[in-house]
Each structure stands twice: as C-alpha cells, then as structure tokens.
Subunit: 152 residues, 2 copies
Amino acid sequence: MVDIVHKIGIKAPLSQVYAALSSVAGISGWWTRETSGDAKLNGTVNVLFRAPDGTEKGRMGFELTKLVPNEDVVWRFSSGPEEWVGTDVTFQLIRRGDYTVVLFGHRNWRQASEFTAHCSMKWATFLLSLRQYAETGTGQPAPTDLKIDDWN
Amino acid sequence: MVDIVHKIGIKAPLSQVYAALSSVAGISGWWTRETSGDAKLNGTVNVLFRAPDGTEKGRMGFELTKLVPNEDVVWRFSSGPEEWVGTDVTFQLIRRGDYTVVLFGHRNWRQASEFTAHCSMKWATFLLSLRQYAETGTGQPAPTDLKIDDWN
C-alpha cells in the first residue's frame, strides 16, 4: 500500500480548521465549491470538480468515518476514480505554539502511478488553500484552484 | 521503503528544466541560494539552508548519480539529516504538448514520519518554485522559500 503524506501549519484555532474539514461549507471553502451532502458521522459528502470554463473534471463521494472534534477527521472514498475507491483521507490536528498543525494522509493506494504523483502535488496545493481559507476566510477551491500540470 | 512522489507541468523547454536540476546555478535558482560543488556525473553538490534572519537550518550533500540530458536526473544524498542519507531524489522529464512534465520522487525513506510529511509538502512548494524559475527566471529558493509549518 502507498500513502501520500503532507504536513502544514495554520495560524488559526483548532476549531476553525476542524470545521473546514468536517462541514459542507468548510470543504467548499478550500477544496471545491461544489460540495454537498450530509457531513455527519457515516454521512456521505459528494464533491464535483470543474475547470474554470465549466467543464466537469471529475466527481467523488466519501463517508466521514471518523470525527473527533478538534483532533481527527477521516474521509473514506466510496465513489470516484477507481484508484481512489476504498482509500482514506486522514487529517490529524495538533496544537503547537501559534499553529494548528495538520498531519494529512491519503492512504492505502494499491500502487504508485503518475496519477498518485499528480494527486500528491494537487493535495499540497489544496492544503495551501486550506491554510489560506482558515487564516483569511478565502481559499482557492475548484474551479479557481491552482493548476499544476497537463492534467489540471 | 517509502517514496514521496509529485508531478508538475512547466511551460519551458526540456533543456531549461534539465539545466535547473543539473547545474549549481540552476539549483540555486529554485531550491537554495547557497548551492556549491561540482555538478557533473558522480560529482558532489552541497546545499545549505538558512532562515530569512540568517540562522542555519540545515545542510546536505548529494552526488549526481544519473544525468541523461533532457530525460533523467538522480541525486543520491550522502550527508544531511539521518533520514535522508542513502535516499535518492529522482527527476524524470517528459515533453507533452505545451509542457515539460516533471515526475519527481524522493525515494527509499526507511519509514514514514512527521518529517516525511513535512518534506513532502516542502518539496511540493519547491516544485512550484522550480516552475516559476523555469518559466520566468525567478524562483523562490531558500532563504525566501515559502514557509509551511512550525518547522520551516
């Protein structure tokens, strides 16, 4: 199994970062504006990504399988790209000094491919968007997300 | 073994991206200004990172163990943080449409830790700096690199 892991430090309260990861309004503020569903334990959240011209780029669904306020959030993907189905996105939050530290993982990829490399880089830019959203109230979610390569 | 993998697309010629990865002047344009040494096959390159206030944050050395012009560059770390010694940083270059695609790997970590997560995120921001350097001539190398967390 292959895991993508990242770390980012955010100068915002734990509760604000937790809300950004565990609510429809929060997720739509930094990942994709088209977020909908039922953001509660075992509820399903659906996300849709578009290019700036409106073209659909992809859609996915995940269940919130772990929600420990201000500590842990786990998303388990049940639909979307084949490589994502059955994988977990994990966020562990730790307060240290001025920072809410986020330990991010996208875990249990069956193998590493060019798509994994694309997603790893893309997650890094979305974590910068998460930081900006939590610190300033304005992130860079799709469709205005930072483009990184020939795929998106 | 654990690998960090990323992908970025750069709107600059293959030869320009290759030079940015395989010469002292190139590396100092996007990774750290304090780059020195002998950037030829099996030569050693030394890099030193400082905080904006001048404090030393770390230093490392690597050998260029593979140099295939416009295709492949491998750096093997021989000194620096214990976790890095013996690991390889690999860059595979592919021309596709308007892009020079860089497939990046930092390979053969003995295990994944918070330091791995920090480095993965930090590499992503340095790849954005590499893109900016190759496309515009001006990157964001240390000590003016983007800070990502409580460590740097």
